[in-house]
Symmetry: D2
Subunit: 263 residues, 4 copies
Amino acid sequence: MTVETNDDVRRRVADWWATSVSRVEPGVIELRGRPIQELLGSASLTDAIWLMLHGTLPTPRQAELLDAALVGSVDHGPHAPSIAVARMSATCGIGLNNAIANGVNVMGDVHGGAGQQCVELYTEIRDLTAAGSGLDEATRVVVERWRARSKYLPGFGHRFHPRDPRRDPLVGLVERAVADGVVAGDFLAAGLAVEAAIAPVPMNIDGATAIIYGELGFPAPLARGLFVIARSVGILAHAWEETQGGRRIKGPIPPDIRPTYRP
Amino acid sequence: MTVETNDDVRRRVADWWATSVSRVEPGVIELRGRPIQELLGSASLTDAIWLMLHGTLPTPRQAELLDAALVGSVDHGPHAPSIAVARMSATCGIGLNNAIANGVNVMGDVHGGAGQQCVELYTEIRDLTAAGSGLDEATRVVVERWRARSKYLPGFGHRFHPRDPRRDPLVGLVERAVADGVVAGDFLAAGLAVEAAIAPVPMNIDGATAIIYGELGFPAPLARGLFVIARSVGILAHAWEETQGGRRIKGPIPPDIRPTYRP
Amino acid sequence: MTVETNDDVRRRVADWWATSVSRVEPGVIELRGRPIQELLGSASLTDAIWLMLHGTLPTPRQAELLDAALVGSVDHGPHAPSIAVARMSATCGIGLNNAIANGVNVMGDVHGGAGQQCVELYTEIRDLTAAGSGLDEATRVVVERWRARSKYLPGFGHRFHPRDPRRDPLVGLVERAVADGVVAGDFLAAGLAVEAAIAPVPMNIDGATAIIYGELGFPAPLARGLFVIARSVGILAHAWEETQGGRRIKGPIPPDIRPTYRP
Amino acid sequence: MTVETNDDVRRRVADWWATSVSRVEPGVIELRGRPIQELLGSASLTDAIWLMLHGTLPTPRQAELLDAALVGSVDHGPHAPSIAVARMSATCGIGLNNAIANGVNVMGDVHGGAGQQCVELYTEIRDLTAAGSGLDEATRVVVERWRARSKYLPGFGHRFHPRDPRRDPLVGLVERAVADGVVAGDFLAAGLAVEAAIAPVPMNIDGATAIIYGELGFPAPLARGLFVIARSVGILAHAWEETQGGRRIKGPIPPDIRPTYRP
């Protein structure tokens, strides 16, 4: 029988929290192996996002694409639950961080998951074409498969915008990036093929950002994670504005318009 | 007696959610009055943060300072409660957004508030000097005032780093920005004066980012808000790594090392 | 063309928040149609839980069963993520409610969903037997179906207790309730049949409370909801104890035992 | 120099999570020193709440008072942010526990803290009278002190109910409990004295439950903690109802009534 030594126990406890994301020791902070000193003054926040998720630094053109996807997701007005919930929370005597947390917490499968699902959808098309299917055929098969599961096709159609004003600028950026060899173009092809297949339902913000996240090599769940980072900016701005207004315990509608009771 | 019309009611309900942050109408998305199309491809995420909080776009040098403050706050290892809580949460069968929300939710007065408090501290020094006090005298008075309230002086000292590796690069960036007329330098002066007054306790990350946020005109509570945005990046990277490991219901220490019961 | 009147708009806005759970008007509070005055002094919290979810008041024997399921779920020690996360959160300068929220937030599919899934499993067995299958055959079919989806059978086995000390008292209570005609016994039969079929793996707390929730007519998702209510009590007690200890920014392990970095 | 042994390290790590709330070992679960088997079938949820916070079991009359305070706090309609936020959250594709967490998270100083503050207010009056002041004088002094800090006196007045329908039944229960020697009556005296001093502003639910929590020996912060437990029941019922309705991404007002933009 071998006996666990003092150091064995310490190592085992420490290893319970082992990570390859960052290293922090007295006087040392490294993100993915890079000393923080090297990043400060040279890396943008977007570079840091890329570094933390990919382990490398992006080229300027890669960062430009990621920036566009993020900026496009920052805000969608005070009625979006992610924003409205944060604004109401901010009037209840909790910290700004707590109000932001509430906004982030509602970005679930339905409110925050369409980008993730759309990356999965595009990936299925890309995989079928990589395996030899024609693009139109792969698109038809995959769209049918998704429609059998749900009446909502993630990334397409919008209950509010007849045509999402973010679609064209984002697709245009990817088209230029493909033309310049910055990204391969498989996800762009998949997205445009789906849009053509289900016309006249247009691509929405989730369909456009899913192209970018897919082209940039982010796994599907990170599409939701990146949406969270971006939307947190809008949540912060709205929650902050709400605290400046001084309202207390803000309900969803003016207090004199009461709910109807249905026994 | 005047009667409220149909339109009056609609307007009153709509106004309950009025905002100057963004405008969203069918086919239209504006952030602080700027059409989203103009921002996509030209604005970075950091530009968007500035726009949403200040209502304008930053100059490149302003954005560089903001980027440095944000990048410096992205991560501080898996033991920071904001990270550890998110990692444990990610093993419990909740969405990535829910795990991030938990990490953000712990960034309260003690774990996430030092930057905010330090902006307040510097602001008091700046206001006293603007009113005619000498910098040393103003610093002495303000530090004494804060120490009377708490044994922790926000922004200075670190329980872990003898010298925070982020201090020098961040202070150096601000010094160059002051030299070039990018920012006025009042908050830099206050921060260095405090550090000199309480030597050898050095400035930490909160003291350094508070200089930047103060110089860039952000009100103190937004120092916490900006820290939340930055740290969300680290939270996402860590939560994602944890989900990739496949562990379920991760406790804080290995399961065979059980808590001691004290009746 | 009909014109929407003032009152139409008001009604439409109010109806957006219509509910049959409660009615609140000036001087009036009703829960499921019962004036709050009638409940105060006569109804227990458990009665109120039943009322809010079922719309009626329970008999004493029904309330006794519900109480047992709830009391059995209150706490499972400081290592459970729902508890550990709340304790760490409580040291970060956020409100007690925020710390509780974090504990509740981690009770997802993996950490808080086994009871819900087990009610579903039992329901499938009950439905098959109601449709004419023998209990053993129905159990065999359903267990196989669930095992094909996951290696974890919800409600059975425990990574920590060889035999869960809550199983026997809870099952015994239900057996007496069935003998006395308080509940029908279908879910008890299903639970015992599963336990026999997969012996020697014993039923755990989720398997036992799922029997109770099923017998008492709660839909499966409410098994998770009721677990949340019960565990909130333990979360509160632990978070409160932690705040009394005065520790700040508590990490998961003692600070001198650092994580290992793996580049 | 002494060397830390294997067991020393293990103990030190385990002690990091030491607690007197519960003990969990293989086959053993104890709440405040009581085996869970003894509680199942005999203790109500309310008894368990008392046990977890006080370390003992309540008498039936004590439990009755606690039940009344809890039942009175269960729900206040769908417009309360704690409810509205949870209902909106429940439509976004997150778990029922996540929706409940969001409701709990908003019960901060303003929305959930009045009971806690009111226990503090009553405690100050009780302490002054215990130190020899007359009740009227003590009340006058303490009310003045609180009014100097804020225009809201916690526990009194209601923006919605001219007279809170929960006040009379709760105060009546405490009066009977005082008459029967169940509780001492100091907090009841303080509450009634404040109400008389500021007439005609009546006591609200927070003022009435603060009397009960104070009489039952709960420290002020637990008044908020207990409110959270109680309100979680209403939050659950409302969130559940909302999920049954099937609405997706519910905003605060009907979608066709849009916010006004003010540039």
